[in-house]
Amino acid sequence: MTDMTTFDPAPRGLRGLLRTTLFGATLAGLAMATGAVDAQTLRAVKHSDLRVLDPILTTAYMSRNHGYMIFDTLYALDADFVPQPQMVESHEVSDDGLTYTFTLRGGLKFHDGADVTGEDVAASIKRWGERDGMGQVLMDFVESMAQGDAPNTFVIQLKEPYGLVIDSLAKPSSNVPFIMPKRLAETPSTEAIPEQIGSGPFKWVADEYQPGVIAVYEKNEDYVPRDEPASFAAGGKVVKVDRVEWVVMPDDQTALNALQAGEIDYWESPPSDLLPILDANPDVTVRNLNALGYQTIMRPNALNAPMDDARIRKAAIASVRQQDVLDALVGNPDLYNLCGAMFVCGTPLASDAGSETLVEGNGMDQAKALLKEAGYDGTPIVIMHPTDVGTLRTQPVVVAQAMRDAGFTVDLQAMDWQTLVGRRASQAPIAEGGWHMFMTNWVGADVFNPLVNNMVNGKGPEGGWFGWPDIPKIEELRIAYATATSLDEQKKLAEEIQKLAYEEGIYAPIGQYFVPSAWSNSLDGVLDAPAPLFWNISKN
């Protein structure tokens, strides 16, 4: 034991030297004793804390990531964004395109030892379909869903042909259609499931879970991976460590030090200003794992005047230069793209239609003209400004200044993110706590087609997303997209939707940026993926 109360910080002479040496040796011994790292435990610092354990109840990315650990999916996207079977062995579609019969592959078991059956699948898809936007569209086309003749089969009967059945089941980000036991999937979709039992490659260690501190997973020894190599979210989920710990570290500097000192192995999202330090460390790898990156967006509220006028909304969008936003938000040009594609640059649906002023940054005159044409009377535009989230506190300031330059009066209201989350749900007028605009960020996979992209929803106050533009034509186009059977047709419809969305000024991507992850060189096999995945990684 080291008696800290007798530690003299400034010992002198031979006696002092001896004491210092003994003290250092004692501490070094302690360090060796306590710092011994189990080679098969992978310690990761994630972007946030895991609070909600039900990945269907919430869209929180941490809950999605948790879902990928313990649950499995029927299909998954590969690196080319093509759906590949995961739990499914094969499927057949009837000639009329209305009946999908799926057969599950052998060896699928839940963590409690029960076999995965068609009943579990049907209940899981039903619950997901109640919560998820793409799932809700799928459910509009579904007549019935049930186990087939054999326990390892299930059948989806459609009311009319729908081109995105498999794409829906392969949805890679929140909410992901994870498969859980029927008894859990029957939990109302507005309540959290009571247990964490999946059939995925890791098991949840409930006893060691401390919200705000640590979440622990252990290898599911009974999991049978597919034979194909891992690719994006698809392929064989081969677990090569015994245990994964998600450690919460609220302080970036602490995470940086811990990674450099070897106390953690993986850091999901180091801030861009610390990347040069990590880049300079030969023992650390820094790489962007998500090719689609993040889309940062501005969203006007179509319910509150003067933003109820499309010309005013367009004027606000036209005033903004993506370059300014991204320079302020990211700084490093290697980590961002000027990208006006609502369905994300780098995807098959990417298009620059309608985004010229944002990307080229030449819309200020147009913004002023639109304001004049609309007769803007100087009503203050309330922009909600979350000051407690590093990746969201910058954009409102830049956008507000651009809008002021165009002639807007802007009321930039500082608040914490959770206040914003509550307030953005308000459809009330400004005087009663309403709002005109906010900014947020999306993972690319959450906005990469017209069905998952919440902002191109045109349903208005009933069923629309925060901001609630009421544009029936967009809904018609989305339904047409959903029933399109070829990629060319989908591309054409997606571009039409984008053009119309820009024309109506319902939202604007104000940049695409990337958040590299960093990990110790002792790790091998870290996957490019839509979410941080921990299979395929070995630790030396």
């Binding site: 710092g35 109302p188 705000g212 993110w417 989350v421």
Partner: protein, 314 residues
């Protein structure tokens, strides 16, 4: 004496009741909605409403308050609306790091600061006094996170003597426990040394000029007995007050230190709960912090009585 303590305990009950009401109302008046946080980006208003109902947030405020107080009286602090874990479990998980840090910090601070303060007062105006006061000013002036980062840089990153972050329970062994708690303790200790040494010096200076000290010296008592038995004991009331409040401050949350050293303590639990509007956790933690303040103040009051008989008869 017993009557005095009983009176103080009874006086604490309305204080706790007021704190409970205040915390409850303040939280409900604060913008933000845990249901919206849980539901995420795609929830419809109907789904939000259903989540609120399942969390009991749609009940009238009075019903919610009465339910909460009723549960509290039965010892049920509720469950976290986000994680679904019992609030008492969450708090219990976070108590050990916080109490450990508070104890090690206060013990180390007292052991160093009280002698420093006594010596500074005894040698008033000398270089020693000025040096102690310089240390005190530095301890007050340098932000805790700066000291923390400097400690980590020197002792963890450069010398490799300590780990960068984390906490080990004393149940894992005294060595690992001390190894992890050392740097946060040193970091906080500088602040508390500054505080306690300064108070000790000031109090001693007042006493050292009194007649009975002069008398003690005149009758030939050794200087250390004059200082320790006559002077220090008689100025212990303000010193104990500062120590007690310092201890309570650490218990009720040293968020910065906990964050810099990644200690899973009560401070971080509180901040996380506030940022995520986890009402049951916030309510319980603030009640607990209030209770700790009340108990520590009570202990300080009892110490006064033991140290100074005049208070007993006041």
């Amino acid at each position: 004496m017993v009557f005095y303590i009983l009176k103080r305990v009874l006086a604490a009950i309305p204080v706790m009741g007021f704190v409970a009401l205040f915390v409850f109302l303040l939280l409900r008046l604060t913008p933000g909605d845990p249901a919206a946080i849980i539901a995420g980006d795609t929830a419809t208003p109907e789904q939000l409403d259903a989540i609120r109902t399942s969390l009991g947030l749609n009940e009238p405020l009075l019903v919610q308050f009465v339910t909460w107080i009723g549960d509290l009286l039965r010892g049920d602090f509720g469950t976290s609306v986000l994680s679904g874990k019992p609030v008492l479990d969450l708090i219990a998980d976070r108590m050990e790091p916080t109490i450990s840090l508070a104890l090690t910090t206060i013990i180390l601070s007292v052991v160093i600061a009280v002698p420093l303060g006594v010596i500074a007062a005894w040698k008033q105006g000398t270089l020693i006094d000025r040096f102690v006061m310089l240390l005190s000013v530095l301890g007050f002036s340098i932000p805790v996170f700066v000291i923390g980062y400097l400690m980590i840089s020197l002792f963890a990153m450069q010398l490799g003597w300590f780990p960068v972050q984390g906490f080990k329970s004393i149940g894992d062994g005294l060595g690992p426990f001390l190894h992890r708690i050392a740097l946060p303790t040193f970091t906080l200790t500088l602040l508390y040394i500054a505080l306690i040494a300064r108070i000790t010096r000031t109090s001693m200076l007042e006493i050292l000029g009194d007649d009975y000290v002069r008398t003690a010296r005149a009758k030939g008592l050794p200087e250390h007995k004059v200082l320790m038995r006559h002077a220090l004991r008689n100025c212990s009331v303000p010193i104990i007050t500062v120590i007690g409040i310092g201890f309570a401050l650490i218990i009720s949350g040293v968020v910065v230190t906990e964050s810099v050293f990644n200690l899973p303590g009560l401070g971080r639990l509180t901040v996380d709960a506030v940022l995520s509007r986890d009402y049951p956790v916030i309510q319980a933690v603030i009640l607990l912090a209030s209770l700790i303040y009340v108990v520590i103040n009570l202990l300080i009051d009892i110490a006064y009585v033991l140290l100074d008989p005049r208070i007993r008869y006041a």
